[in-house]
């Protein structure tokens, strides 16, 4: 059936001249193509920012190393953070969202297909603008300079007095541009999920992925906008001589911190909630059970969405807030552990009593659960303000948020890759290479980020290009660097797997995982119109209903 039609489709596709095919991708408004564009673009930046990370790790392998200059190191650190957050993780999650949401809610496209294309290209051009700084940024000496103010760009380091030339402007403008794209994507997610559901798909019957992305959409519009506003203020300061963050003229450096983290903390949840969404789709399928406590999962996500807007100042426990301010933010911060804990327990509840199939997507999800648990616990440590006074700004906090982003989000992302790759390409990913990828990445991850906690506890601050010998940090830094190379090797295996499977992978068929959501009812890859006939659903697992007509879900939901 579908495998033949794919083969046919591929033949037709490759018969057309390359220019024409390229043109198709540039002018497309199809959510599937845009989703794939997002993903490819993000993978490119994953490699770029990964190389930046490796450069930093080589520099830190021994004390007083001279691999790069402090200026270069600071640029690498700024670009690595900015790229990974704004041009790797966000786009890749938007990509999966754009690709999957219409398919999972039985729609033919996003609510605003042209806005969708516009959002993607804004994000893409934002990234290119940022990287143009390497050649185009007029630094102090006229040479190209990338921004070096750190990814949160604390004032007044970003003021004209301390950051001459245009490197900071590149950072600001690139984030402004990509921010507009992100807001567009957020608006589109909300409108799509609310207005494009197929008949029968009430809010209570949406797949969790749709629910979680709805929350993400809401968080995007309310948290990227403050960043955009703050960037506009920074531009006014730098170009028109304004004083928003000019401490010489009575401006406040702390105000920037507040504005940045009002964006910055919900941003973490913008990144992690889609990862939750992947896990919430993959774990049930590979445990052969419905998600445990669906309504509570939804409620917990909404709670996370709201609470995440009241915790931002836990990034600022060291700026000298009053004891009451600190206590308040401790409370909200540890409170967010409750809904997050509920989610972890519910995934465990889903696995409990199931029949767990340890294929690569599930392996990555189990990795996610394990690492996200630890990340959450180190998060609690950082959330208790006095402990934070010791840990924040140190390598401990670096290890913590990499645990969240790499151990949590990226693991879930790889799970999603292996899970939906057959749908996107029509071919299965190679299982053996996938396992190599998983184990290498797991080892590399733990070598790097487990041991990275220790120098933080021993007093090593983050963002230093070199360190003094004899403080007990050498060994740990060496191990961390070795781990980074393991991770790089794993990424290499992953890329090889993607390319190899695209040509040689086993044909997938419509429904390789025996799954239950709507995207598996159409062919792989789906036709332009997604569904030949608009599906009608009666439960959260429409394909279960069809597979088990004598025992359908809709009787009980």
């Amino acid at each position: 059936m579908s495998s033949e039609s794919i083969a046919l489709g591929t033949v037709i596709e490759s018969a057309r001249p390359i220019g024409e095919r390229l043109h198709d991708w540039v002018v497309t408004v199809d959510h599937k193509k845009l989703g794939i564009l997002y993903i490819l673009y993000a993978l490119f930046f994953l490699v770029v920012a990964g190389i930046e990370a490796i450069i930093m790790r080589i520099q830190l392998i021994v004390p007083h190393n001279h691999f790069v200059s402090p200026q270069t190191f600071n640029r690498m650190m700024t670009m690595h953070g900015t790229t990974m957050i704004f041009f790797m993780v966000m786009p890749i999650l938007f990509g999966f969202g754009t690709y999957l949401i219409p398919l999972m809610i039985g729609a033919r496209d996003m609510a605003f297909p042209r806005l969708n294309a516009f959002s993607f290209w804004m994000t893409a051009f934002g990234g290119l603008l940022l990287y143009f700084s390497f050649i185009g940024g007029n630094g102090l000496y006229g040479a190209g300079t990338a921004p070096d103010v750190g990814w949160w760009a604390y004032a007044p380091l970003t003021s004209r007095a301390f950051s001459v030339g245009h490197s900071t402007d590149f950072w600001t403008l690139a984030l402004l541009v990509s921010g507009i794209g992100s807001i567009g994507a957020g608006v589109n997610f909300i409108a799509t999920i609310l207005c494009m559901r197929c008949p029968g798909m009430t809010l209570g019957k949406m797949p969790l992925l749709a629910w979680l992305n709805l929350v993400v959409g809401g968080m995007v519009i309310f948290c990227i906008s403050p960043l955009t506003a703050a960037q506009i203020m920074l531009c006014i300061d730098r170009y028109l001589g304004g004083h928003f963050f000019d401490t010489q003229a009575g401006g406040s450096a702390v105000l920037w911190m507040h504005f940045f983290w009002i964006f910055g903390h919900p941003e973490v949840y913008i990144l992690v909630v889609p990862a939750f969404a992947f896990v919430s789709e993959i774990v049930p399928v590979f445990s052969r059970k419905p998600i445990f406590g669906y309504p509570i999962m939804v409620a917990a996500t909404i709670a996370i969405g709201f609470i995440s807007f009241s915790v931002w100042a836990h990034h600022m426990f060291t700026v000298g807030m009053s004891a009451y301010g600190n206590s308040f933010f401790v409370f909200t911060t540890v409170a967010i552990a409750v809904p997050t804990g509920i989610k972890i327990f519910n995934w465990l509840g889903t696995m409990w009593g199931g029949k767990i199939l340890l294929r690569v997507p599930m392996l990555f999800c189990i990795g996610f659960l394990f690492q996200f648990l630890i990340a959450g616990l180190t998060g609690i440590m950082l959330g208790t303000a006095p402990f934070n006074w010791q840990l924040s700004g140190s390598y401990f906090v670096v290890a913590h948020f990499h645990y969240v982003i790499v151990g949590g989000i990226v693991f879930a992302l790889f799970g999603a890759f292996y899970y939906w790759y057959p749908k996107m390409s029509g071919r299965m990913c190679n299982e053996t290479l996938g396992k190599w990828h998983f184990w290498l990445f797991l080892i590399g991850f733990h070598l790097t980020f487990d041991f990275m906690h220790i120098p933080g506890i021993l007093g090593m601050p983050r963002r230093i290009y070199t360190y003094e010998p004899g403080r007990g940090w050498e060994l740990w830094n060496l191990i961390v660097t070795i781990g980074a190379f393991f991770q790089a090797a794993a990424i290499l295996v992953f890329v090889v797997n993607l390319l190899w499977s695209l040509r040689k992978g086993e044909p997938a068929g419509n429904d390789p995982w025996d799954a239950w959501t709507l995207e598996w009812s159409t062919s792989s890859p789906p036709p332009d119109y997604d569904f030949a006939t608009t599906p009608v659903v009666r439960s959260r697992r429409p394909l279960w209903d069809l597979k088990h007509p004598e025992d359908p879900d809709w009787k009980y939901e």
Binding site: G186, I190, C195, F222, I236, G250, L255, S521, V536
Partner: protein, 198 residues
């Protein structure tokens, strides 16, 4: 191994979803209100923190006329949309034009106020914190008014060429949401800048 053909059920209840235009516009308004919130917070935070003059009390005057114009344009655009829904294209054109005129008056009076402040009072963005926050906040709002006016003007052109039909009522209504939002923001800006801040 069993299989079931994937078909639609016959009995299908009426399936009504919210309008994507409206949902989209509300989302956009949500995003915009977050932007304005940040600017308003910055304004309030910096009230009285300027290290040098002039202060708001020295230079600001209440823009009563332009406020009345802008707020009443909310009413006229509502009337215009209602007329279009009732297929009265002529009435629509009239109210739409009044809206455009009121918006333009607002923008012009803001321009005059700025001119006065810059050339007579010597207040610019870089003068002090008040200048920075004032021009940014009022300017951001004026920018939104300008964008709105451009769209209104565009629709006006279509109206003149008789391209506007009653089925465009939905779009006009979605746009009117934006315009109402801009008015509400002005109420807040007015309160913060001209009442609290003075």
């Amino acid at each position: 191994m069993s299989s079931a053909a994937y078909t639609r059920t016959t009995a299908e209840p009426e399936w009504v979803l919210p309008s994507r235009g409206r949902v989209g516009m509300f989302s956009l308004i949500g995003a915009e209100s977050a932007v304005f919130t940040i600017f308003v917070v910055a304004y309030i935070f910096y009230i009285g923190k300027s290290v040098a003059g002039p202060t708001p009390a020295d230079v600001l005057e209440l823009p009563i006329l332009s406020t009345i114009c802008l707020l009443s344009s909310s009413l006229t655009i509502h009337l215009a949309v209602r007329a279009l829904h009732q297929a009265k294209v002529g009435a629509f054109g009239l109210w739409w034009f009044v809206t455009m005129a009121l918006g333009t008056i607002f923008l012009v009076s803001t321009g005059r106020e700025w001119h006065h402040l810059i050339y007579d009072k010597g207040l610019t963005v870089s003068t002090n914190l008040f200048g920075t926050t004032y021009y940014s906040l009022v300017g951001l709002h004026a920018f939104h008014v300008t964008v709105g006016l451009l769209i209104i003007a565009l629709a006006m052109v279509f109206t003149l060429f008789r391209k506007v039909k009653p089925e465009h009522g939905e779009r006009a209504e979605v746009f009117s949401l934006y315009w109402h939002f801009v008015d509400v923001v002005w109420v807040i800006v007015f309160t913060v800048v001209y009442i609290i801040g003075r």
